[in-house]
Amino acid sequence: MIEWLHPGLLLIGGAAAVPFLKGRALQAYLPLLAAVALLDCILMTPGMFGKAQFLGYQLTFGRVDRLSLVFAYVFTLAGVIGFIYALHVKDRLQHIAALIYLGSALGVTFAGDYVVLFIFWELMAFSSVFLVWANRTPESVSAGFRYLLVHVFGGLCLLGGIMLYIGQTGSISFDSMHAFAGSTTFALILIGFILNAAVPPLNAWLPDAYPAATVTGAVFMSAYTTKSAVYVLIRGFAGTEALMWLGAVMAVYGVIYATMENNGRRLLAYHIVSQVGFMVCGIGIGTEMAVNGATAHAFAHIIYKGLLFMGAGAVLYMAGTVKLSELGGLYKTMPLTMIFFLIGGLSIAGAPLMSGFVSKSMTISGAGEQQNSFAFLMLTLASSGTFLSIVLKMTYYMFFGRDAGLQVTEPPRNMLAAMGLASFICIFIGVFPQSLYALLPYPADYAPYTAQHVLDSLGLFFFTTLGFMLFMKKLAPKPGLNLDTDWFYRRLAHAFMGIVRKPVANFEYRVVGEAYDYLIRAAVLFVSRVVNHFETEAVQPAPQSLAAGTNSLGNVLRRLQTGSVHDYAFIMAVGMAALALSYVIWWAQ
């Protein structure tokens, strides 16, 4: 009996079977494997498991406690839904990438130390990029490379921080970083983490890469990278005041960009930035209630954001575009997709009886209890903006508005089933909030459905709709692209390439090439002439003279052995004479 089975390694190992399966077997295998991982997480008991020794450090692959479990539940649950949504996909590369990506997100969640954390952290970036590349278009290839480069930068910051941490403490354990506040170690690890959480100005990779991913790939991506970052921030940086400010700003930043956006999936990507802002803000506030709120919001967010990406993906899959300026009137042909999308939209906006209401209001109340009016007002403002750009703008221009005359039908049944399942979870959590609260890291004694709360939300939504109707003309989507902070590195790369192409190439050709001719080649020729001289004058004659010596010695010996009796007799006579002579000389002495 195995004491503890790592669900992440189960999925990563399970990816090895994908190339050998096809048809129905593969379709059954993928969601079943994710379901087994979910069951594995449900059956776990808290404790420290999967310990291994490595270079004198103790690695811990399985830190199982309430915090890691709630994230593991929702990660695997989203995996089941995501694989149902992706059942029709024949491209095995995507399935393998998704399995490794989900597995490494679980690896991060259960990691008890920085070494294991870092390994899975990098694996997450390197597996998810294939969900972008699998689109196999020039745009997705370059977006994937930008995604990878940004994450490599973040990974290096994290690695640098970890090295400093090990140097200072001699330990690799990953716990609250409070004792290091203000140090370089603290800053580097924090930068590594908030880059994955897409905190501005380190946010631009997200709306750049996610809309370039495949229809099903974006559903997976929307769940894991940012939320595993939320998890490690809760673990290491709860109560860091800077996060409260960043999160509050980020929630509004994402909403503002979403309001300008025309590409439906990029609009949703900016709402990830905004929603993760709620969580980061809650982590920064750091009280039990706020951290509970951030965790609950991460749980609810993964499901409803997946649902929204599934809805937008279904439109992209069927209509071939998800640009709002090219869509309209789809309620006639895709009513089910519209209903599911609307449920996702109402959830993310935080409408009563939907999952977002019970998780978001917890974070906002967390800000209220701390008398933090800035966070309270910013997060409420962002709620209004979420309702505005998803429920009103996106739903209106995709499913209603001007009929674009697109001849489409509902998406394949597996896509509808996945959206239906996600919709059910959104409503279930909204109606039975205690089912979610029971999973949170701290005891949650919170009642979301007070009369004031419900009415405040309804007021917010009704009057936001009023604002929308007033500015409807101005809000009409237009094709175009909005500059974000990726402008800096994309322009920088452009300028760098310009420098490489023109001056550097010229310098290389004209100056370095010529200098090479005169300095290096001349010197090489001179040295080779000297060597050549030595070779012909000294080295080559050496064996010749050796051969000549051997030759003449051979001649002498040959003459000595003529075979004629006269010669031998002469030699013997000479020998006798020499002996006699030497005897005479010796005797004379």
């Binding site: 909403v255 403002l381 009415l455």
Partner: protein, 86 residues
């Protein structure tokens, strides 16, 4: 599904929907005042969230702020053609 399509495709029912929305706006704002300021059923965190119809007013203010900042201030600054980076 058919019923829904009929409902949304019919101009008369759309007019009803608009009227219903108008009534909803007024009713929600009044209910907010009633619950918070007359019956004192809620409890606020700050001086401002107990003001009459705070949720409604702040919702309207929020949507206006977001639209003005996004569409009137930021959009002219950051908007480019789709081929900008190509």
């Amino acid at each position: 599904m058919k019923a829904l399509q009929k409902l949304l495709g019919n101009p008369r029912s759309l007019r009803m929907l608009k009227r219903g929305f108008g009534a909803g706006v007024v009713i929600v704002a009044l209910l907010e005042v009633l619950v918070v300021n007359v019956l004192h059923l809620g409890h606020g965190y700050f001086w401002f969230d107990g003001l009459p119809a705070f949720g409604s007013l702040y919702g309207f203010l929020s949507s206006v702020i977001i639209i003005v900042v996004a569409k009137f201030i930021l959009y002219p600054l950051v908007s480019r053609k789709e081929e900008h980076y190509d």
